[in-house]
């Protein structure tokens, strides 16, 4: 357990210490969302209707930014080889990475989402549902992202490959994420979508460390 926490602490320290990664992420998230009103025109009703989708797309794209730094620097400086020989199983190290990835590239977005809600003219109930759906759904995005990054780490210049690989996996997350905010047929459907989102996150977060560990082992050989 201490090794797991040490890995988590190391990942967080490397992300936090002064490289402005989180600031870049936040600006990207807000700018992506803020550009939409310019593109579709200042139609308040239309904006309010598509706002959930915009928030989710912005969150999805922003979370792709951090994928490259999940395994690539570790591979380049030899740390990944040492992880494979560590006493702590590789899957536990990767589980810590999934959590760190969520804390540094999803949590800041959720905290910043009020800005986007303001820009997109969301009403207050929709805003709260957005926060809830992001909280329940982004762990799945972090898990799929980690998996994609692990598959592509052995490929030189595989940077854009991971997003392409995981995009299909993330489709259900987007569908139910938006479904939980903007129910088409009454409130019952929204809670069902939330439950489904939570299930997706639970399954993907619990399985992705093992899948990613396998991918790293095979990729390196």
């Amino acid at each position: 357990m201490s090794g797991f926490l040490a890995t988590l602490r190391r990942e967080l320290r490397l992300s936090m210490s002064g490289s402005g990664e989180i600031l870049t992420l936040l600006l990207f998230f807000i700018i992506t969302g803020a550009l939409v009103p310019f593109a579709v025109g200042p139609d308040k009703e239309l904006l309010a209707r598509i706002a959930p989708g915009i928030v989710w797309i912005a969150a999805f794209l922003s979370m792709l930014i951090g994928l490259e730094k999940l395994f690539r620097p570790d591979r380049d400086d030899g740390t990944l080889a040492l992880y494979r020989l560590a006493d702590l199983p590789l899957s536990a190290i990767i589980a810590a990475k999934v959590i760190a990835h969520w804390l540094t590239s999803a949590l800041p977005l959720i905290i910043a989402s009020p800005f986007l809600a303001l820009i997109l003219a969301m009403d207050v109930p929709t805003f709260w549902r957005t926060i809830l759906s992001l909280l329940l759904g982004t762990p799945a995005l972090a898990a799929f992202g980690t998996f994609g990054a692990a598959i592509t780490v052995a490929i030189r210049r595989g940077g854009l490959l991971a997003p392409i690989l995981i995009a299909p996996l993330c489709v259900p997350v987007l569908i139910f994420g938006v479904g939980a905010i903007a129910p088409m047929g009454g409130p019952d459907q929204a809670s069902a979508a939330l439950l489904f989102l939570a299930a997706l996150s639970l399954i993907s977060v619990s399985l992705s460390p093992f899948a990613a560990a396998l991918a790293v082992d095979w990729g390196e050989e």
Binding site: A6, T7, D77, G78, A81, L82, L85, D87
Partner: protein
Amino acid sequence: MTTGQTRSQLFVEIEHLACGRGENVLVRDLSLRLEAGNGLLLRGPNGSGKSTLLLTLAGLLPPISGKIGFPGHDAETGPVLHYCGHRNGIRPRLTVAETLSFWAAINGAYGLTTAEALAKVGLAKAAKLDAGYLSAGQQRRLALARLLVSPRPLWLLDEPTAALDTQGHELVAGLIAEHLAQGGLAIIATHDDIAVPSLSTLTLGGTA
């Protein structure tokens, strides 16, 4: 020490091993047996397969054919080997002490304490420094300190003296001698002379 007892029965057993990178076979039909307390120097020109052999022994590359075994190793006591390669696994923005305690945390901190290990490799004064500021030789020393905080019976060292000064060479020789004296094993790829008396030598690349 209980780990000392298990170590004294440990062997490295290599049978008809062939290893290489992809289609390129570098080492063919290698068989050897190394007993606890012994070290092996791998020699040979650049590209003769020293590093590849070490990576294969470490389990980081799959062997092309043949078997590698560690009879006498009790898996309960943790991983059998340390691999110390060209790349030191050191990341800027973490201090020297943080880097080492991280390795101690994930490899098991049952050896020297972080401070003792740093003192031993001559980095005591640099403990609070950003590891990115270390020179190549100091980074190598930090990488070697990793072997001291989490004792494991077999050391696989790939050019451990690279970038080290004269005292550094002596340090490496001293660490290896001490490790072997405690019943450890070491396989070392190097171009330098490492002044440890009981090392045997295997030269690669004569026929490759």
